[in-house]
């Protein structure tokens, strides 16, 4: 069998695995998905930061959640003509699944989602900060439209509408998103798997927002900006809360605990915040010991020596990059 034939078979196998038990999905799959799924089967696969991926120029990655088959059909024709990577759904889709797809934009009909539509829009807009959400609905009130836009939707199109208008609105939303993220003064900072976007008040790990409160975000931003230096509790309190810290106040400890919980949930392989007892805290991303690969033993060495060899965990330097 030719190399191309083997590749096609492998892709089909992966596709079958992906769609097993998910008959409600229409089988329009973008080429990147297969590669992504294959890569996920490898143990050492680390997904690239989502925002970085999404903001790269290239074909738009889109999902359409709508049960109106006629509308979807004409929209699909247009999108095929523009070589977009898209997927359509005729039933509600879990947020996690959409996050994993690394979309630029999402077109959704709230009628399909039922009473949980607003919660869904708020959830997906919060989870993926770079995602453009376009709501496309038949009947709606002003209050519904205003609420959806305030909850995180970027645009609202009322049906019946021309597919060309929908396509133009998707392009417009994605264009604005890309421009916003690629602004020269965005000041994005990286630490391990963590991305901090001060302009958006977002801390993101592997494309998923940590959903921090304003104060939690200010604290993590301060720690990241300290470039691995130890910050005293009093100094942290002064700079985040804006007042002198009263003796015995445990606010800093409680907020650091909450940050650690959020980081642990989103980036379990890394250790970020280190405690300096009686002094304060330091943020320095470090792979946890169980995830650090021990070096191969040198050939010819006696087994005792090999047993005594302690795997050296070399902490990567704080990867602090500020886009200019």
């Amino acid at each position: 069998m030719s190399r191309a034939g083997r590749g096609r078979r492998a892709a089909a196998r992966t596709r079958n695995l992906y769609f097993q038990g998910k008959k409600r999905l229409t089988a329009t799959l973008w080429p990147g998905t297969v590669n992504c799924l294959r890569a996920r089967q490898c143990n050492d696969f680390t997904p690239p930061p989502l925002l970085t991926l999404l903001m790269q120029p290239g074909p738009i990655r889109l999902a359409v959640i709508d049960s109106d088959s006629g509308f979807v059909r004409v929209l699909v024709k247009r999108m095929e003509g523009m070589s977009w990577h898209f997927q359509t759904f005729s039933a509600p889709v879990p947020t996690e699944q959409l996050v994993a797809m690394r979309l630029n934009a999402l077109v959704v009909d709230p009628a399909l989602l039922g009473p949980g539509a607003e919660e869904f829009i708020e959830g997906i807009a919060g989870e993926v900060p770079g995602l453009g959400v376009i709501v496309c609905s038949t009947r709606s009130t002003v209050a519904q439209r205003v609420r959806a836009l305030r909850l995180g939707a970027d645009d609202w199109v009322s049906k019946p509408c021309h597919p060309e208008e929908v396509v133009a609105r998707i392009e417009s939303v994605v264009r604005r998103r890309r421009r916003a993220v690629s602004r020269p003064d965005s000041g994005r900072m990286l630490a391990g798997e963590l991305e901090v976007h001060p302009d958006q008040y977002q801390a993101v790990v592997a494309g998923r927002s940590l959903n921090l409160t304003r104060r939690q975000f200010e604290l993590i931003q301060l720690l990241v900006e300290a470039h691995g230096q130890v910050l005293q509790r009093e100094e942290i309190y002064q700079r985040v809360w804006g007042y002198a810290m009263a003796h015995g106040d445990r606010s800093v400890d409680v907020f650091v605990r909450k940050l650690r919980q959020a980081l642990e949930a989103h980036s379990p392989r890394w250790e970020y915040i280190h405690t300096h007892f009686g002094i304060g805290y330091r943020l320095e991303p470090r792979l946890k010991a169980e995830h650090v690969q021990s070096p191969e033993p040198a050939p010819g060495r006696p087994p005792e020596a090999r047993e005594q060899q302690v795997p050296v965990a070399v902490p990567p330097p704080l990867d602090l990059m500020t886009s200019t």
């Binding site: 007042y243 009263a246 003796h247 015995g248 445990r250 606010s251 800093v252 409680v254």
Partner: protein, 209 residues
């Protein structure tokens, strides 16, 4: 100091007093746990509120029992009323503290509040032990002395805690919030001492009679 040289009082009454002591102890233990793991254990405020309601029910039952004909009280009714009121106050102050944490949108505890809650719990445990001893006709001296000592500790801690708020540059909102909370914790500890005073009075009267 041994009690009940005269006739033995109504056992149901003593049992209700013991229940009130256990309730006081339970509420103060939950308050300490809530402050130690705040804000994660904020849900304990609801449990403390239930304790407060249980305390009200027990106080009502005791007063109702005092008013019943044919019940041999043996103690001075005014002493018993003062005892019941003080026991009720302890749980009320514990509940007020727990409620204030939510009401004032407290983000994190203060070490001094945890220390005061620890003193309140220890004093409440001594109150409970004294009421068990009262029912079992045993001496109360040890528990009452412990309550007085704990109250002194509470006073000192409370004064230091309030002083720590009035350092230059501290958020005025924080001063307002925590001053109230420190004061309600101290009032809870003071109510434990009131219980000790009333029990001393009862023991004195029984001894001299």
């Amino acid at each position: 100091m041994s009690l009940f040289r005269r006739a033995r009082p109504d056992d149901r009454l003593l049992e209700l007093l013991e229940n009130a002591g256990a309730n006081v102890h339970r509420a103060s233990t939950m308050l300490r746990e809530m402050l130690a793991d705040f804000p994660e254990r904020s849900d304990l405020a609801r449990e403390i509120l239930l304790c407060e309601q249980e305390g009200d029910r027990i106080a009502h039952d005791i007063i109702h029992r005092l008013n019943q004909r044919g019940v041999h009280v043996a103690f001075d009714s005014r002493d018993l009323y003062a005892l019941v009121s003080a026991l009720d106050d302890i749980v009320d102050y514990a509940e007020q503290t727990a409620d204030s944490l939510g009401l004032y949108a407290i983000e994190a505890p203060m070490e001094q509040a945890e220390a005061l809650a620890g003193v309140l719990e220890a004093a409440a445990a001594a109150v409970h032990a004294a009421l068990v001893a009262l029912r079992q006709r045993q001496a109360l001296n040890g528990d009452l002395i412990q309550i007085h000592q704990l109250e002194n500790d509470g006073d000192r801690l409370s004064r230091d805690a309030i002083a720590s708020l009035f350092v230059s540059g501290v958020d005025p909102m924080m001063v307002i919030r925590w001053k109230d909370i420190f004061e309600s914790l101290e009032q809870g500890i003071d109510s434990c001492e009131t219980v000790a005073h009333v029990l001393e009075g009862i023991a004195l009267k029984e001894g001299s009679g």
